[in-house]
């Protein structure tokens, strides 16, 4: 937080690689999510297993419209289509025009955009990991030490009460959520994506198998995308609550204004 009466020192919080990869991922998330919804719309049903049940039921999620009535079926529970799902401008489609790239029905272009940014995403992940390893930042910034696990509960309680007093060093909740995104959700996104590729499946048959089959991988891909979208929303909210100017300065320029007395070894 910026406190005019007690200006703490400016400290280097983010490396150049962290800042560049952060914004590249932000762009990737935007394009991958919206082109991904375009691809989902081509067959707005998710299944569990190797194949899609047309003559049997292994559907997990189904979004559509019948006789002008929208519906969403989740795990066999049927609900009336709510909000924007089911139709858009009178035509049956799962996610509406404003949520897809391109806005109209265009699976081919959605795939072109999706696979381009998928490669950008993977390259960014590798560059970030190499940079973080070389600089030794993983242990310093993301590793959950004993004191972080011990402080997790009170940190979570404070965040739930919208008391987000961030400091120059990441707190327990920041370490845990950033670590989960970088080392669990991001790799899962790549692996579930690869598990849908028939070419990659032939060379790496264990991949769809451990994920429960190609259609399960497609379902997981969708679920992890939803989790990343949830992370994005909470992440932006936390930035706003924790002092958006200082946080934005840090992720743009690298410099973060710490509290007085907080910094000793940065």
């Amino acid at each position: 937080m910026d406190m005019p009466d007690s200006p703490g020192p400016l400290v280097r919080r983010h490396t150049c690689i962290t800042r560049i990869t952060h914004w590249t991922w932000a762009a990737c998330l935007f394009f991958l999510l919206l082109s991904g919804l375009q691809i989902f719309n081509a067959h707005p049903v998710l299944y569990w297993g190797d194949q899609s049940g047309f003559e049997f039921d292994n559907a997990v999620l189904r979004i559509g419209a019948e006789d002008d009535r929208r519906f969403v079926v989740l795990f066999g529970m049927r609900a009336r289509g709510f909000g924007v799902l089911g139709t858009s401008d009178g035509a049956a489609r799962a996610f509406p025009q404003w949520a897809t790239i391109p806005s109209g029905v265009d699976l081919a272009t959605g795939r072109v955009i999706h696979f381009f940014f998928a490669w950008v995403f993977v390259a960014t992940l590798l560059i970030w990991l190499a940079g973080a390893l070389v600089a030794g930042r993983l242990r310093r910034d993301l590793l959950m030490r004993r004191e972080h696990w011990a402080g997790l509960r009170s940190d979570l309680a404070a965040h739930l009460r919208f008391r987000c007093r961030h400091s120059a060093r990441y707190g327990p909740l920041q370490r845990l959520s950033y670590g989960l995104v970088l080392f669990v959700l991001f790799p899962l996104m790549v692996l579930t994506g690869l598990a849908m590729s028939p070419g990659a499946n032939a060379a790496l048959p264990w991949l769809p198998e451990v994920l429960g089959g190609r259609q399960s991988a497609r379902t997981l891909h969708f679920m992890v995308a939803a989790a990343l979208t949830g992370f994005f929303i909470v992440h932006v909210a936390m930035v706003l609550l924790a002092g958006p100017l200082n946080e934005m300065r840090a992720i743009l320029t690298g410099w973060y204004r710490a509290d007085v007395g907080e910094v000793d070894d940065v």
């Binding site: 935007f30 919206l34 691809i39 989902f40 081509a42 067959h43 049903v45 299944y47 190797d50 194949q51 899609s52 049940g53 047309f54 003559e55 049997f56 025009q97 404003w98 949520a99 897809t100 790239i101 391109p102 806005s103 109209g104 265009d106 699976l107 081919a108 272009t109 795939r111 072109v112 955009i113 696979f115 381009f116 998928a118 490669w119 919208f162 849908m196 590729s197 028939p198 070419g199 990659a200 499946n201 032939a202 060379a203 790496l204 048959p205 769809p208 190609r214 259609q215 497609r218 929303i233 932006v236 909210a237 706003l240 609550l241």
Partner: protein
Amino acid sequence: MSDRLLTRRALLRAGMTAASASLLGGCKVLDGLSAPDNTIRRFMERANDLTMAMQRGVLNRDALATEYSAADIRQPQRPNGVTNPQDDAYLALKSTDFADYRLEVGGMVHQPLSLSLAQMRTMPVRRQITRHDCVEGWSCIADWTGVPLAYVLSVAGVRSEARYVLFHCFDTIERSLSGTVRYYETIDLVDARHPQTILAWGMNGAALPVPNGAPLRVRVERQLGYKMAKYIRAIELVDDFSAVGRGRGGYWEDRGYEWYAGI
């Protein structure tokens, strides 16, 4: 408490307004990417070359697609695209149960062939239970029987300058003012000579049904369904496909889909 609620509500409202504004603005602006000659689109399409290079160069290029057991066949193979061709030549052949059907094999071969279904059934047989992945996102497992394309190519003798196998099909998939468009596809010789690439005349223990491409379709098990041409009339070995259709190597490729559909 009340100020909390207000904060939360205001936050939600501000967030949703910002998000929807950026999405609305973003998406319409990006619709230009749908145009086939859009410069940025052409650049993005090159990521698919990287995908192909990785799948062919880094992963095992001879890998076999997963084969399933009979218990995994739980439903009929879902047909897609054209499912009942109305072209005269096709209807005539269908009326006699394809007894007069001949597969023409030509182009850059030493020995052009004209093969009946009976002749192809006496050739080496490969049977495989595989998963068909549609570009739309769904999958379906079925049992396919046919002659390896590699065998037919070896009988015809592929000339050294040939690079692609071009499938000419019976079915008209599009009628427009500029004429009718029949389905066509191309694959390269790596996929053409892959052991699981077969000219299938049988499916799930019976003759190949009309909706699934009777009398003959190709299986290219490491790519998506649109590569696996149905209702095959002729096979032509070519060194270049830029003069066929709109020049991108297939009916769906001409409409924006990737030529290499291994992803």
